[in-house]
């Protein structure tokens, strides 16, 4: 049995880059396409994975920051995404762009992260800062949002989302913050279209309940 095949069966990869012809491949050029790089990685060239990371890491970081607050957690998520992508690269069939496949993996890793961190003690509403609750009160009393309050809105939304279940948080993030369609959310999450709709309905209700509690506490 060839060494590469034996190691692949054992779930390991060879220490040195050896391509299918048994030769060490040259460093991939910067302008190599995704398909060429993926093929090189599949042939055993681990270093060909680096340009793929460089190209897609900003997108993965931006997505991970929607689900995790601490920068250390964000980095852990991104690292896990790329390690998984490397391990599962043989399952990428090339029918859709690599970016779509990677984003699906990212969303699912973020969902796993949310589920894993669900057991943490919940943040009580008293932990909300005074400016946040004040701002929400003002937003409720005015007709239009302030032009320069997007950052605060994101902060308040993050706080409220931390109270939601992982499924609700995921579906609201994808539908409302990333402005994706139901079909796109279904593809990203692997849920059916009807499940996404049901989940979105429940998530919005859950969020409204949180907002109501937050405003009520502010009034007390």
């Amino acid at each position: 049995m060839p060494l590469n095949l034996a190691l692949a069966v054992a779930g390991l990869r060879p220490k040195i880059d050896v391509n299918a012809s048994g030769q060490t491949p040259s460093q991939p050029e910067a302008e190599s396409s995704d398909a060429e790089l993926i093929e090189a990685v599949r042939s055993g060239s681990v270093s060909s994975f680096e340009p793929l990371i460089r190209k897609y890491q900003p997108r993965v970081f931006a997505t991970a920051r929607r689900y995790a607050r601490r920068e250390g957690e964000v980095e852990d998520i991104v690292q896990e995404v790329f390690l998984k992508a490397f391990q599962k690269l043989h399952t990428f069939r090339g029918q859709a762009p690599f970016e779509h496949w990677l984003m699906r993996l990212t969303v699912r890793t973020c969902f796993d992260f949310l589920r894993a961190h669900r057991r943490r003690p919940e943040i009580s509403f008293s932990d909300y800062s005074e400016p946040e609750t004040d701002w929400l009160q003002q937003l409720a009393s005015r007709d239009d949002p302030f032009p320069d309050d997007a950052a605060m809105a994101r902060e308040v939304v993050q706080r409220v989302f931390e109270k939601l279940s992982p499924r609700s948080r995921l579906v609201l993030t994808l539908l409302e913050l990333e402005d994706r369609t139901v079909k796109e959310v279904a593809e990203l999450t692997g849920w059916s279209v009807s499940l996404v709709k049901v989940q979105a309905f429940r998530a919005r209700a859950e969020m409204r309940k949180c907002l109501e509690q937050m405003l009520r506490r502010r009034e007390l």
Partner: protein, 101 residues
């Protein structure tokens, strides 16, 4: 204001501030280092993985043999597997006892 209106306004405002896509310096090097470390063949971890992979087939074989012996025992109605095993294991000891008599 109604809560659903407040919710819509809040989400619309939050949508205007997408999170940063900044990447820490040389982050890809960190991932590549992890991948390279994983790629090194460690004989102990290799053996460990193989043992774990063998655990499920071994369990299946054990269950199949148990089931087979149970069915064989019920079907024939003869001496139990346990008795037969005991006879086989202690046969030399019984022979030695008989010789001493």
């Amino acid at each position: 204001m109604k809560l659903d209106e407040l919710q819509s306004k809040l989400l619309a405002a939050a949508r205007e501030a997408p999170p940063s896509d900044a990447v820490p310096y040389a982050f890809e090097k960190r991932i590549m280092a992890r991948l390279t470390a994983r790629a090194r063949v460690d004989p102990v971890s290799f053996w460990n993985r193989m043992l774990w992979r063998a655990a499920v087939p071994c369990l299946l074989v054990m269950l199949s043999v148990s089931l087979w012996s149970f069915l064989a025992q019920n079907g024939k109605g003869g001496a139990s597997l346990g008795t037969e095993l005991e006879d086989a294991v202690f046969a030399p000891a019984y022979a030695a006892i008989e010789d001493t008599w």
